[in-house]
């Protein structure tokens, strides 16, 4: 039976990319335990609109956890505390009457804030444009049954392909890296014979410049990517191979010279400009904002079952 609660919120409000933002407190009454988290925001917004205030902007579309539109850092965790689901699938029965919940946008230089909780994730599109596909034009395909694919590989490819492109992995990574997103697409296509002819080019274009940050990343997510998606099979497995390729490509040195990680697609002048103007210093905020696992790709044991107490210092449990 649904119960009614009062929930206190502290929500990040920011009028535009180049504006300063702040956490604004709200109280919402008559919150049903059956409501989804986004419906709580709907309820608050209806109230704000009738009162003549501006509603909180947030992205959402399918509300079934598949489109990847929605997402916010809830009590310091990307998509909140529930494992394996997007924010739209988090329901209020996981909170208690009188709880205070802190809601922030994805915080990453790669994702400039558009307004309130809405961020610009076009960096993901640029990564896919750099090689997240098999180059086959309409009409070129042979019969679908012509090539057999081991069932195990098809299933592993499907695991990787299940990524919903929400950006939570970037928001959760201490370095705000897109390595998890990128490697999921690379793994999917490398596991299938259709993706083989281009696998090297794909990795070089979409991913390799990330190697300048690989040591940093290794400490966090790389091991999991490596293990789950067998990326050694992708010929990007060893540090040496990656560095050699990068050097050959002439891009690694350039990245190192710049002194920080930049993927070619994340480094467009347009994006850099906006990132420079972003009021949130991503690197600083990350310290208090520990990584959670990707909600869709991994059922990591590293995530707390409940909201951490005393935000924002709550840290996830490291196994």
């Amino acid at each position: 039976m649904a119960k009614s609660m009062t929930i206190h919120l502290r929500v990040w409000r920011q009028a535009g990319t180049d504006q300063r933002g702040k956490l604004v407190p709200y109280t919402v009454n008559n919150v049903s335990t059956d409501m989804s988290f986004l419906e709580l925001l709907d309820l608050l917004n209806e109230d704000l609109v009738v009162k003549g205030e501006e509603p909180i902007e947030f992205d959402s579309d399918c509300r079934e956890g598949i489109c990847g539109s929605c997402g916010a850092v809830v009590n310091g965790m990307a998509h909140g505390t529930q494992q394996g689901s997007a924010l739209c699938q988090l329901h209020m029965r996981h909170f208690k009457d009188g709880d205070t919940i802190v809601v922030e946008p994805w915080r990453a230089r790669a994702f400039p804030i558009v307004r309130d909780l809405v961020v610009d994730r076009s960096a993901f599109d640029r990564i896919i444009a750099a090689g997240g596909y098999v180059s086959v034009s309409t009409g070129q395909a042979p019969d679908a049954g012509a090539v057999a694919v081991a069932r195990k590989n098809a299933e592993l490819a499907m695991d990787a392909a299940a990524c919903i492109g929400c950006g939570a992995c970037v928001a959760a990574c201490p370095n705000a890296s897109a390595a998890l997103f990128t490697s999921a697409k690379i793994s999917q296509l490398a596991l299938l014979p259709q993706g083989h002819p281009e696998r090297e080019r794909r990795v070089l274009r979409a991913f390799i410049e990330d190697v300048s940050r690989i040591e940093e990343f290794r400490a966090t997510r790389w091991r999991i990517v490596d293990y789950r998606f067998g990326s050694s099979k992708l010929e990007v497995g060893s540090q040496e191979t990656r560095e050699r390729r990068g050097r050959e490509n002439g891009k690694l040195q350039e990245s190192l010279a710049r002194g920080r990680l930049t993927s070619p697609v994340l480094a467009s002048p347009d994006f850099q400009l906006r990132a420079a103007n972003s009021p949130i210093d991503n690197r600083q905020s990350r310290i208090d904002n520990p990584p959670a696992s990707c909600p869709k790709l991994f059922d990591s044991a590293n995530v707390l079952d409940e909201s951490p107490e005393g935000w924002p210092s709550g840290l996830r449990r490291r196994s």
Binding site: V49, Y133, A141
Partner: protein, 637 residues
């Protein structure tokens, strides 16, 4: 107005090939001189934009989301049909054609549906080549499963995420062309009007949703692939941003809207839990393979399910349809659930739900079997409702899911406005009065990959299309109209938010233009919608202004269009004095309460013409001719 379907002459099986042989071509050097606007980047729009760019046209692709990959095609679960006959179960192009036209209750064009079945196999080839990870057998070959409305296994699937995987394939193809510079991508843009010059579609006016800027874009042709209008009902399985605005704007510029009353209600969705509800979630129809649907025999019996003994339960589908039982088609199952709830026998807090019970299957096959087969669906159900469906029966209720109606198109997928092509769910062409499962993905990709690349060339090769400028008077005029409309909504400063209006509209449509309809209810609905529109003009409140990201302003414009559409849906349902497919008129049913089609009088496509904001629409009819199939009555008893 004479509606020319342009269906080619000749035997059904040869029409498409003969037609292709007649179509004009554009040589490669000339293709790059043409700009094509594609609005929408779901399965139909994404595949069209990619395929047209591969051919060499310059494509401008617009989407309402932050990325093309978010389009609602992504939420399709079950699968995609094709006549591959890999299981050797005697499937064929003919059978796929026949099942689809019969499933649509004989209200679609033979030639279009046959072509759909013909190209279905190419779609699977294309998607596999793109790296779509379809389910496979241990031998490494593609797996198939069966779906409603067919006696063969012809559905290809990628777990319960087929739509996602097909869309990511089309999205990859699209982004490849972005990388090549052949597609210019315009995300977070909402098309707000069509620009017609010398009677031909030559561009669009859209709003940049981030900056609020009103932009004009020119092209030699416009391809609309903006999905269906199920969100008119407010609560549906559609995504929050799914809307009719782009299509409706084209309609107001002269494009006919066909069969608006054909809206599909899916029987197995998670029921509404409260007034705050923003959308409904579908539970795959495959659950009805093992679940038994029931309600208590007595009204107002609110004992928990496990305390209601067998003799007090009514397994109404098994009782009424003994040969199909729980596996009757979607429209039949939906109506039966509504009847049970109308009789006061619904379950749950709201009384608007029926049980879908797996207890027998669990006892027969074991929990492990059920978990393997439906585990992800059971998890989704548990997450949303907080109940454990392994222990207590699921509660389900029908919800609006898909719209068969849409903008009228000819065999070339061109609307009656030259140069305006309409693909996917946005057009009306292939599903008649009811769509079969796993056919929406097939149609979207057929239109985008294998039809529009051929018919577009014919249009561009045939017509003389002088260059137009975004500064032309026609563009300026439309631009000004768009701005005026936005300003008007902001200036009302009333007391009700657009969502409140939308909710009220949805309730009217659900009550009177929903699962079953009657003349009085439909007339009432028209009146209620009119007074709602009047109130909207005086009491709407939109916060902020048009100069930045303002979702409530977007909603407000869409709700206005849904209200105009809602009235036409009711009028269309009123004039169609028969029951067919998803359209059930209470006056036209058999003694047993089954749908009664009236082929002699209503075997036509109803295409509505817009006359002006306060003038009634004009009805045009395209008679449907059936030369190859016999019009039979569906029976599931």
């Amino acid at each position: 107005m004479k509606l020319d379907s342009k269906v080619p002459e000749g035997p059904l099986t040869e029409k498409w090939d003969q037609h292709k042989a007649q179509l004009k071509l554009v040589n490669p050097a000339n293709k790059r001189k043409f700009d094509i606007i594609v609005v929408g980047t779901g399965l139909a729009g994404g595949s069209a934009a990619a395929s047209l760019a591969e051919l060499g046209y310059n494509v401008k692709a617009f989407c309402i989301h932050d990325s093309p990959r978010r389009a609602h095609s992504i939420a399709a679960q079950g699968g995609i049909n094709a006549a591959k006959n890999y299981p050797n179960d005697n499937d064929s192009i003919w059978r796929l054609f026949f099942d689809t036209i019969k499933g649509g209750d004989f209200r679609s064009r033979e030639a279009n549906v046959y072509r759909l079945a013909q190209v279905s196999n190419n779609i699977i080839d294309q998607c596999v080549a793109q790296g779509v990870p379809f389910a496979r057998e241990y031998g490494g070959y593609l797996a198939n499963r069966s779906f409603g409305g067919a006696q063969v296994s012809r559905t290809f699937y990628a777990r319960g995420q087929t739509g996602q995987q097909l869309l990511l394939g089309a999205y990859g193809a699209l982004m490849r062309q972005v990388d090549r510079g052949k597609v210019q991508l315009f995300p977070r843009r909402e098309m707000l009007d069509l620009v017609v010059i010398d009677g031909k579609a030559r561009g669009i006016v859209c709003r940049n949703l981030v900056t609020g800027a009103i932009e004009s874009h020119t092209g030699h042709a416009v391809v609309l692939a903006t999905g269906g209008y199920g969100n008119a009902y407010f609560l549906s399985t559609n995504a929050m941003n799914s809307n009719v605005t782009a299509a409706w704007r084209c309609h107001r510029r002269g494009a006919l809207f066909a069969n608006p009353c054909f809206t599909q209600i899916h029987p197995t969705c998670i029921p509404v839990s409260g007034h705050y509800q923003s959308k409904l979630t579908l539970m795959s129809e495959s659950l009805r393979n093992d679940g038994r649907v029931w309600v208590p025999k007595q009204k107002g019996d609110n004992r928990p399910a496990d305390q209601i003994p067998e003799e007090d339960r009514d397994y109404y589908l098994e009782r009424r349809y003994p040969s199909f039982g729980n596996l009757v088609p979607r429209d039949v199952a939906s109506r039966a659930a509504k009847q049970a709830c109308d009789e006061g026998r619904g379950v749950g807090e709201t009384g608007l739900a029926v049980f879908l019970d797996f207890a027998d299957a669990i006892e027969r096959e074991g929990v492990g079997y059920i978990r393997d087969k439906y585990g992800n669906l059971f998890d989704m159900y548990a997450r949303i409702t907080g109940e454990d469906p392994y222990r207590t029966p699921m509660r389900i209720f029908p919800a609006v899911h898909y719209t068969m109606g849409g903008l009228w198109v000819d065999y070339n997928l061109m609307s009656n406005v030259p140069g305006l092509f309409v693909l996917g769910e946005a057009n009306f062409s292939d599903h008649g009065a009811n769509r079969l499962g796993a056919s929406a993905l097939m149609q979207g990709l057929a239109d985008g990959y294998f039809v529009i690349p051929y018919t577009m060339g014919d249009y561009l090769g045939r017509e003389s299309l002088p260059a137009v400028d975004a500064d032309a008077a026609e563009f300026k005029e439309v631009d000004a109209e768009v701005r005026t409309r936005l300003d008007k909504m902001l200036l009302i400063k009333g007391e009700k938010s657009p969502r409140q209006f939308h909710r009220e509209l949805g309730q009217v449509l659900w009550d009177d233009v929903g699962m079953s309809r009657n003349a009085q209810g439909l007339k009432d609905a028209i009146e209620k919608i009119r007074s709602l529109r009047e109130e909207y003009g005086q009491n709407l409140r939109v916060p902020g202004n048009a100069g930045y990201l303002n979702k409530y302003l977007e909603f407000a414009g869409r709700v206005a269009d849904f209200m105009e559409l809602g009235e036409v849906m009711a009028r269309d349902a009123l004039q169609r004095e028969e029951s067919c497919g998803a359209h059930f008129r209470e006056e036209y049913q058999t003694a047993e309460g089954e749908a009664q089609r009236r082929d002699d009088d209503f075997s036509y496509v109803a295409a509505w013409e817009y006359q002006g904001p306060d003038k009634p629409h004009i009805l045009h009819k395209e008679e449907l001719e059936f030369e190859n199939v016999h019009l039979a009555t569906r029976s599931y008893k």
